[in-house]
Symmetry: C2
Amino acid sequence: MPKTLESAPADDGFSMPGEFERHRRCWLVWPERTEYFRQGAKPAQRALVRIATAIAQGEPVAVCVSARQFDNAVRMLPPQVQVIELSTDDMWIRDCGPCFVRHPRGEVRVVDCAFNGWAGLAHGLPVAYQLDDLVPRKIAQLEGMDRYVCDLVAEGGNLCSDGQGTLIVTAENLLDPARNTAGRSRQEIESVLCSHLGARKVIWLERGLRHDVTLGHCDNLACFVRPGVVVQTWVDDPADPQFDVCREVHEVLARATDARGRALEVHRLHQPEPMFVQAEDLDGLDAGPWLDGRRVGDPIAASYVNFYIANRAIVMPGYGTRDESARATLQGLFPERPVLVVPAREILLGGGSIHCITQQQPE
Amino acid sequence: MPKTLESAPADDGFSMPGEFERHRRCWLVWPERTEYFRQGAKPAQRALVRIATAIAQGEPVAVCVSARQFDNAVRMLPPQVQVIELSTDDMWIRDCGPCFVRHPRGEVRVVDCAFNGWAGLAHGLPVAYQLDDLVPRKIAQLEGMDRYVCDLVAEGGNLCSDGQGTLIVTAENLLDPARNTAGRSRQEIESVLCSHLGARKVIWLERGLRHDVTLGHCDNLACFVRPGVVVQTWVDDPADPQFDVCREVHEVLARATDARGRALEVHRLHQPEPMFVQAEDLDGLDAGPWLDGRRVGDPIAASYVNFYIANRAIVMPGYGTRDESARATLQGLFPERPVLVVPAREILLGGGSIHCITQQQPE
């Protein structure tokens, strides 16, 4: 029933809503990848249960799971969470899943960007991503939505929209030659973002957090609270490896204007204390390139900006340091949505945080 | 979101509609089981495409498929058919899938009967059925429907409802000690059929077609055209192995009354000419108990009664003999629905026909 469309969403009047707009549901994926998640992903599954439960306080939640784990997921998740068999290679549906665009009259469609597993082995990551690449198609089938195909390698974690034509992205990620190798210039990529996500103004951050295995996703750096208002990650300590990046981001955002010509109101959200790989984090991981590339003491990129905006809640990652002050800052920015803090270190060990494992479907 | 209910559907006012009532969609499964389906199930997949295409002329169709075959199924099926990742062990969703019950106010719920793979090895059949057994639960999750659990081993192919409280079943199947082994009497089974499917009158046929590997499913024998009217399978030739069964069925139906006390109007539908296993049917099957149990020249049970009633079409299996006369008989019984004949021998080689591979979801 859903059609594959050759046209460009913007030409059809479709554009990407803001995450703060109304959702029909939140999509999540059951963690099963044992290269990234220690002890057969069992601790990560317990973490996912807590995150899904929190998001379900704010909107409907559907969790995708393989046939092999279906029964276990149904038993572990609370009854208010929908469980759907939908196989993936990994749990980062923000990046491999559909990007949704909406028409002013209400119809929602899927934009299916190219996906190459975060450029896989080029960056020391496992290479299986064929199932991940089918996720937008499967969700389009489930929802009966028409689907646009976009040949740009663009991960959802690097696409932040204000719902009014402004998009924040990083150049480090989109210009990575292992992602968009066709010699595409910044200008050419910007034109695809405009035609396929309905953007009229793209704000380019140059690079992302250091040690971010996704290579510079903007969802660790900054996001829109509402049109005209952004919150960005921050550190005070000049010795912190993220100090320079935080300042660079601030310089860009503070002087940027959005698609409507407004200057942005920029808020700061202090990062957690620096985090490092511990011995137990490496215990019970599958042998392979991921484990080969990690040592005890390696820094882990972590950001409180990687939170999720549900209809009636903010779900913020807890890392055990500065959680309370981050919660208070976010509560001030979102006075009408209770901020729920859920431990996320176990997910972070796989390379991302709460925002990375979610994908909102607009209403 | 969907709940598991401990109560009995009949006590909650739910009962099983007739197949001739309005459907929301038809569920099918992509054939992948290479013990039953020769040449890696490729001929069966082509047959399924034709059947799905025909049913889609009469109502929406969703085809369940494993992750491994998702992309192939999407490419082979026409765009008007929805493709959903939902792993099974086999393709007989009539038997392992949900039985739907409806409340007079319109709510539809799932009845999840026990399923043991047609009693598996007790009858020389393969034994894997764990995925099949999860199908009702998965569909309840997808549709957000509450689900009743029923501990009776009852296959949908042996449950034919008139939507007004009458059910036709066979004793051979429901009383099979390898299915319902708890020493349950006919009376006790009847009481479960009443409480869980909302029946008030159960018409027991004693035995099914000879050589039916499902062990006597009534959907090869007889079905309701509408309340008060049934069509049953028939042969004229006393030498045909199905001659006695056809007469037994007729004797029961001709003197039966339904839940409302009406005598039944009984129509006859002549069977195809006797069918036998041919050498090429066994070529390219997996080694195992199914292949071990088949020889060239073995009879195959086949019935034109195994058709499917879609909203705006009848989809009838074609076997290459007597198809036209069966089509004409059915067209007379269903004057408002065009009768579409689709070749089904390739499906029949796996043990069932078009009705066996469908499951209607009431509107």
